[in-house]
Symmetry: C2
Subunit: 473 residues, 2 copies
């Protein structure tokens, strides 16, 4: 999951995450919103046995453990898959072959230009009050330092207001460290996305952020950011940010040396689109998706290997079960999400004239922990239909509908054009412990939760693609 | 908290940790063990108001937050304090000055020779099936590799039986990786302590362990180990160990290059002993203690800065409250615990002829999370007395007595000579998430929990030092 839409921040994308925690407790969505879809209710209820068949097949049948095993094989084979890298392209080829091995051949790729930022050497040392090597991760597209690094005193700010209140004399020539407490991702990440620009405006020589995370074992978290002025910018750990703040509060001068190098150009990458053709209205479609690129640290197993594989699993499971819905299901693997939803923007532009045919668009990019339901954007009537469908997932505790105007990450680009859609609502309380770190590995994933996620994702997409009515706009 | 007693393993020290989880739920210790100390019960109950005074002073009075603040200042000033380092000696000087500033001048240090192992460059790269930099921490006293490193195929074993069953031909020339699941520390740590020796016996060229921890964010955990043969030995992360095992299980050959350098000699360090002289039986004493050295990663805030500071706080708080017990309270800061309880051994040897005067010995070296009670070694009668004292701490939920024959780490050296003693029983479920990693920082500590710990530790020590009877042996 990334942050920026091209050069602009898309905070709304993330606000859903805070809403996720305030899901309704007792009354169902339909009761709360006084849904009136009585004609459809019976039709939707008739999918109960299909839902059961899919869940049985994936959770306790032949597909059990398969999503986890294939995801593990994928991330162990390729590791991190940063935008513009060769390994990302090879991983796309691999996914195509894996799909073809399932006798699914309706696969196209669409080329686009993507950013290719390559991290070089990165080091940070505290020189005063004592020598200490620290952990550091440069933020995406950060400028390099001179080879000898930047050596300067640090000045810590808890928030932008403090920076704005400080005089240029106090900030000029210093390294700014933002040390905001983690509240929600959407709120806290503004320091990552805008910090460097604001620090440079005040004359800072570099900009550091406290990693955007609620918990850490000395783990720096990278991520994208939007440049105005060009000062090197990186994340340090929560622990080191706290230490530097404590030292400053005691009146102790802290001097750091930061060395960072990187290169930047652009490359060609591809969105990948798998079609499971609809039986009656093949031009209409339901999209399920995840992004195949990752940050350059960890294995990209959680962000977004899990989302990629539960979306890959949808046509595979339906094909194996010989379930062909009325409308086409498209499984899309977005490229270059982390550097600014680049693949999604290209798709939206390319298919803009056909977007009336997108019946519903789904993405999983906030973890594939135990599924709880969906975070849904759309009209009240659309949400009522989705809520009715979600009732079929009470047996696996995945019936919750959370409202958001901008669920998902890539799909927000398309949803904001008026297409209804949803992201996976899942038990992702620990998501930001691992997000954009070396700790984003298979150890975050669980075979059982991935099975539940794949079954849920598949059955939901199938029903939406198969019911007699389109999701209203 | 370390592992070895000099060159031998002291597993018993750690077995207490597993017992900690099976603390009695409903019946009190006195009921379960049918304690009969009716004469003493009234006397012990009479300390209720002193306990309240101490808790009030520390938890909500002038001492509130002080233990945390002083610990933070200490670890921020000195950082890691490895055995034999100059910074350890300077940190000892600092603690002496901090104590003198409290108008406590009964302080002695006792010199001893300690190991001085200094970590140099450490790098590990996966060369096959793909290039990947991994996280690595050499284990204490590990040998160095040649400058170009050791390049070899890996062979993974889940346990020693598998290694023993393997033929020398299969292991010779390879890097052995032990990948046991974490059960308890006491059980799992045998792979850290004995792994290198056993691997070398089979002809391995290096020995790696899966870090001894139940949870990780790509965090390698160092620790001590006992050498027979001399192959380099280090810990990799749980995540990387899992990945290598998965690759091996799929028949994929994994080749690593390991580079490690280090130096080893000995230096002089010091145990530090602060006396709060007893009023009636000053030659008899109760010891409270923690170790001042740490591993060379992180800040040593949890292991064992917290134990050091709650033990330092005991004479300070009692002096401030003008509470002078019958017997002397000695607050001891052990040195060189991590390299084999070296300070504790020297103390035991030096004071062996006076050990009959140790009424009770306490150590906090398993975290200073919320105190729950004590892990107690001693006769049934001794434990009954301690259980009666613990009843006074029901208001702070610290009344649990857990039995162990070998609580603590350093103090186990003295307890095994027949001295009764106890370690701090605390809510340390996450202790091994941070243990011996860069994540052992102030972020693990909580001001409120340190206050509770300091108050509990002080009041318990005071009562044991003051009651009319010695703790029986």
């Amino acid at each position: 999951m990334c942050l920026s839409i091209r050069k602009y921040c898309l905070l709304l994308v993330y606000l859903s995450l805070s809403k996720v925690q305030s899901a309704p407790k007792k009354q169902s969505y339909s009761e709360l919103r006084a849904c009136n879809i009585s004609d459809l209710a019976d039709e939707i209820a008739s999918y109960e046995s299909v839902v059961k068949d899919i869940i049985d097949y994936v959770v306790s049948g032949p597909f059990k453990g398969y999503t986890y095993d294939e995801l593990a094989k994928f991330v162990d084979t390729f590791g991190a898959r940063p935008s513009g890298s060769e390994v990302l392209e090879r991983s796309i080829d691999y996914m195509i072959q894996l799909t073809q091995a399932e006798e699914i051949h309706d696969i196209v790729t669409e080329e686009l230009e993507v950013p290719h930022w390559v991290r070089g050497e990165e080091k940070i040392k505290m020189l005063e009050p004592r020598m200490k090597d620290m952990a550091l991760l440069g933020l995406g597209r950060s400028a390099s330092t001179p080879p000898e690094g930047i050596t300067a005193e640090v000045i810590v700010f808890n928030n932008f207001s403090m920076l704005e209140a400080a005089s240029i004399v106090d900030v000029k020539g210093k390294i700014v460290l933002y040390d905001p407490e983690f509240t929600t991702y959407g709120e806290t990440v503004t320091y990552r996305s805008q910090g460097a620009t604001k620090a440079a405006e005040k004359g800072a020589v570099a900009s550091l952020i406290r990693s955007v995370a609620p918990f850490s074992i000395n783990s720096p978290h990278t991520g994208s950011q939007t440049y105005g002025d060009n000062v090197p910018t990186a994340a340090i750990t929560i622990e080191d940010a706290d230490m530097i703040r404590r030292l400053q509060n005691r009146g102790v001068k802290v001097v750091l040396n930061i060395k960072m190098s990187s290169t930047f150009d652009t490359k060609i990458s591809r969105n990948t689109i798998i079609d499971l053709k609809g039986t009656k209205d093949p031009e209409k479609h339901v999209i399920v998706s995840g992004h195949i690129d990752s940050w350059d640290v960890g294995q990209g197993a959680m962000d977004d290997g899990g989302g990629l594989f539960v979306s890959w699993a949808v046509p595979v499971i339906l094909k194996r079960l010989n379930l062909r819905p009325r409308r086409t299901i498209k499984s899309i693997f977005w490229t270059a999400e982390e550097l600014g939803l680049v693949g999604a923007y290209a798709y939206e532009e390319r298919h803009r004239n056909n977007s009336h045919n997108i019946n519903f668009i789904m993405e999983s990019d906030e973890g594939t922990f135990a599924p709880l339901g969906l975070v849904v954007a759309g009209t009240p009537e659309a949400r009522c239909i989705i809520a009715e469908i979600l009732k079929l997932f009470e047996s696996i505790n995945a019936s919750t509908l959370v409202e958001s105007d901008s669920p998902g990450s890539d799909i927000a680009v398309i949803i904001k054009t008026g297409v209804p859609g949803a992201s996976l609502h899942n038990a992702n309380e620990r998501y930001f412990w691992f997000h954009h770190t070396e700790g984003d590995t298979m150890n975050v994933e669980s075979p059982e939760e991935l099975d539940l996620g794949a079954a849920f994702w598949t059955a939901v997409a199938y029903i939406i693609a198969d019911i007699s009515v389109d999701i209203p706009r």
